[in-house]
């Protein structure tokens, strides 16, 4: 068989097996088949062994009822009538909650501390150094215990709650916040809020274009604050005051009802965000130091104040250095949230790969599901950060 090259000249005849292209393909295919076969035999063998050892397998358990309680749940969960499938969702949502809030706090904290470390103020710079060097050098699990039991020790007894006035009550079992109760009119408020946000975005674009064109400035920030408060407020009255709050009442064992923020959540959140914040601070510092000093000097020479210099000149350039390692920190925080199991926070590992695993005994299925879930979460975060990174990349004009 003749292989013709792009030029059309006939190449020297070679045996099929000696053609490097075809040979490469064959090697790839053989390798793939071998891998699939190995995986298949492994899985087959596992199920054979499970069956031989009389251990139940399959995913049927997901629709069976789970007979245990979960303290914190973002969706309706009723012990005894909710399924193991729902336990999975409850755990996943709790993991997401602590991860998302933790990422936000860690990022803010990291940026503040990272910049503070570069401050000319000796005390602030030293404090930031002490924070970073202490927190990132102590194992996270220990920090979680310290935060959790510190939170517990710090808060008053269950039957001796600290009243926060209209903010509810606080005790060792957490924060009993007022719970919003709304009627259908709430949609008017939400619509008003949406209009306000869309309006602000449009306004900001228009203002920037106008400034670029004419140099005239528009007080966007003040207008935005006014719109975001006033519009929903107007909606609130038009909708017939659809929002009220349910306050915790006094029960035998301390307050009852209201919206709960559990101390396990607070402890875990504090530990995760301060720990990861320390790493982010170093990344931010590295990013800023990575921007040529000439940029600062040029900015000062143009008459920009230090705040503006940082915000308009340094940080946008530093971000390009910061984002890739920041992604790793977000992934770390999300995965580290599985340490929740140590302090009774009902995250995915605790309730699903923990309690549910133990009650059903189906370790293989549950661990596979849990691993795939973490993998998916991590890949999603990576994908988002890569998109953001591409968006932030140097645009050459």
């Amino acid at each position: 068989m003749a292989v013709t090259t792009a030029g059309g000249e006939s190449a020297p005849k070679v045996a099929l097996l000696n053609d490097p292209k075809i040979r490469a393909w064959i090697v790839q295919i053989v390798l793939l088949v071998a891998l699939v076969w190995l995986a298949w035999v492994g899985i087959q063998n596992m199920f054979d062994n499970l069956r031989a050892a009389n251990i139940s397998s399959g995913f049927g358990f997901l629709s069976r009822n789970a007979g245990f309680a979960i303290s914190q749940s973002l969706i309706e969960y009723e012990q005894g009538t909710s399924t193991y499938g729902r336990v999975f969702i409850v755990g996943l949502l709790n993991t997401l909650l602590v991860a998302v809030v933790g990422i936000v706090i860690a990022t803010i904290l990291g940026f503040v501390v990272g910049i503070a470390r570069l401050s000319n103020n000796w005390v602030i710079a030293r404090l930031a150094t002490v924070y970073v060097e202490t927190l990132r050098n102590i194992p996270l699990l220990l920090q979680i215990f310290v935060w959790y039991f510190a939170v517990l020790r710090f808060l008053p007894d269950r039957r001796d709650s600290l009243s926060l006035g209209f903010l509810g009550q606080l005790n060792i079992s957490g924060w009993y916040a007022p719970k919003p109760i709304y009627t259908d009119g709430i949609y008017v408020v939400l619509a008003a809020l949406l209009i306000a946000i869309v309006g602000i975005v449009i306004l900001a674009r228009w203002a920037r274009k106008r400034q670029e064109a004419t140099g005239e400035r528009f007080p966007v920030f003040r207008t935005a604050v006014a719109a975001i408060i006033l519009l929903p407020l107007i909606g609130y009255f038009i909708g017939g005051m659809p929002l009220s709050f349910e306050y915790p009442t006094q029960g035998n064992f301390g307050p009852r009802g209201g919206a709960r923020v559990y101390p396990e959540f607070i402890g875990l959140l504090l530990a995760l965000s301060t720990y990861t914040g320390a790493f982010i601070a170093e990344i931010v510092r590295a990013g800023i130091l990575g921007v040529n000093k000439g940029q600062t000097e040029a900015s000062y020479a143009l008459g920009l104040r230090p705040g503006h210099t940082l915000r308009l000149v340094i940080v946008p350039q530093a971000l390009r250095i910061i984002i890739p390692p920041l992604t790793s920190q977000y992934l770390n925080l999300t995965k580290n949230s599985s340490l929740a199991v140590a302090i009774a926070y009902p995250d995915l590992v605790s309730v699903f790969a923990g309690t549910a695993l133990n009650q059903t005994g189906q370790a293989v299925e549950i661990l596979l599901m849990t691993m795939l879930t973490y993998l998916t979460l991590s890949l999603l975060i990576s994908a988002f950060m890569n998109w953001y990174n591409a968006k932030m990349a140097l645009v050459e004009r």
Partner: protein, 338 residues
């Protein structure tokens, strides 16, 4: 995280090794020269390490007894501390030969997890502990309480059933390790600590002021605690089962650690069969004929280990109750050795 790793280990062992649950546990133990016994991570009276790393307790004595029966040496045990969550995977994957870890015998564990339970070395029931100053006298007053417990136990399910049946609500705070449960309860995070009653008495000792806490009278479940082995190895299951029975029979016949040598010369045929001077009872198990003598020589009879580990003279101060011999109105009963 650790348990995930252990779980994964279990998974991979199950995936790779053909027939871990093969019927050769005794051979494995003999060739290894060590019995691997899965115990708790520290439960006074049942399985608890001292400051020198020496384990003691009722469950530990069963491990020692089995080691004595096999090797004639009660010290040939490797204790593997397991959390409630890890324990079954550890046994299924062959990481331990036997689980002697205050584990409740339930039907689903017996039939769906590939485990085999055969004897009950401690009859227990789940109870509640509260602070004295709360003025609670009955578990029925606990509606709205925050309850601390261990994850991965029957306890969680029993509480759920009990509160549902009595139309009460509660807040469950479930930790993986018992030490954190105690610490959180001690700090006041929960109003109630719940686990098996024996466990409550044991954990109460770890509180700052044990006397400020009391155990409520209600026992809300049956908790038959006993050793578990893998299914499909009847010889091994028999060794575990008959080690317990030998300790019961010894108590019933008045054979103690102190008088066992003397009793070897006894004319009582029951004692003769037990101690191996008449008949062949050890060899069919793959053990020496004086297997029961070795057990009693090493750890004493059931009554002795009970008294030494959890009885009225220990810190736990637990009465024999249901764990008395059948001859004294209890539930502990050994089939005859003949």
């Amino acid at each position: 995280m650790k348990s995930i790793i252990k779980g994964l280990l279990g998974v991979s062992v199950l995936a790779m090794a053909g027939g871990v649950a093969s019927a050769a546990t005794l051979e494995d133990v003999k060739s290894r020269g060590m019995l691997k016994c899965g115990v708790s991570q520290g439960l006074p009276g049942f399985s608890n390490p001292d400051s020198g790393g020496n384990w003691s307790g009722l469950d530990v004595d069963l491990c020692k007894g089995i080691a004595a029966a096999i090797f004639g040496d009660a010290s040939k045990v490797e204790y593997v501390p397991l959390s409630a969550k890890e324990r079954f995977t550890a046994l299924q994957s062959g990481e331990v030969d036997l689980l002697s870890r205050n584990t409740t015998w339930t039907m689903s564990r017996d039939t769906q997890l590939g485990l085999y339970f055969s004897v009950v070395n401690y009859y227990d029931g789940q109870g509640f502990m509260v602070r004295n100053d709360m003025g609670i006298t009955s578990a029925l007053q606990l509606s709205g309480a925050a309850i601390c417990t261990n994850t991965g136990t029957t306890t969680e399910l029993n509480v759920a059933d009990y509160f549902r049946a009595n139309n009460m609500d509660y807040e469950l705070v479930a930790f993986e390790k018992a030490d954190e449960v105690v610490a959180a309860y001690d700090a006041g995070r929960c109003d109630v600590y719940t686990t098996d009653q024996s466990g409550i008495y044991a954990q109460r000792l770890k509180l700052t002021n044990p006397d400020d806490h009391k155990v409520l009278p209600e026992v809300i479940s049956k908790e038959p605690l006993g050793p578990a082995v893998r299914q499909g190895d009847d010889v091994w299951a028999n060794i575990v089962k008959w080690t317990h029975f030998a300790m019961l029979q010894a108590e019933e016949s008045g054979v103690t650690q102190a008088n066992v040598d003397e009793m070897k010369g006894s004319e009582d045929p029951t004692i003769k069969r037990l101690l191996g001077s008449e008949g062949e009872f050890g060899t069919p198990l793959g053990l020496s004929n004086d297997w029961a003598y070795q057990i009693i020589k090493a750890v004493g009879n059931y009554g002795e280990t009970f008294a030494r580990n959890v009885g009225p003279d220990t810190e736990l101060k637990i009465a024999r109750g249901q764990n008395a011999l059948w001859t004294n109105g209890g539930l502990q009963y050994a089939p005859p050795i003949r």
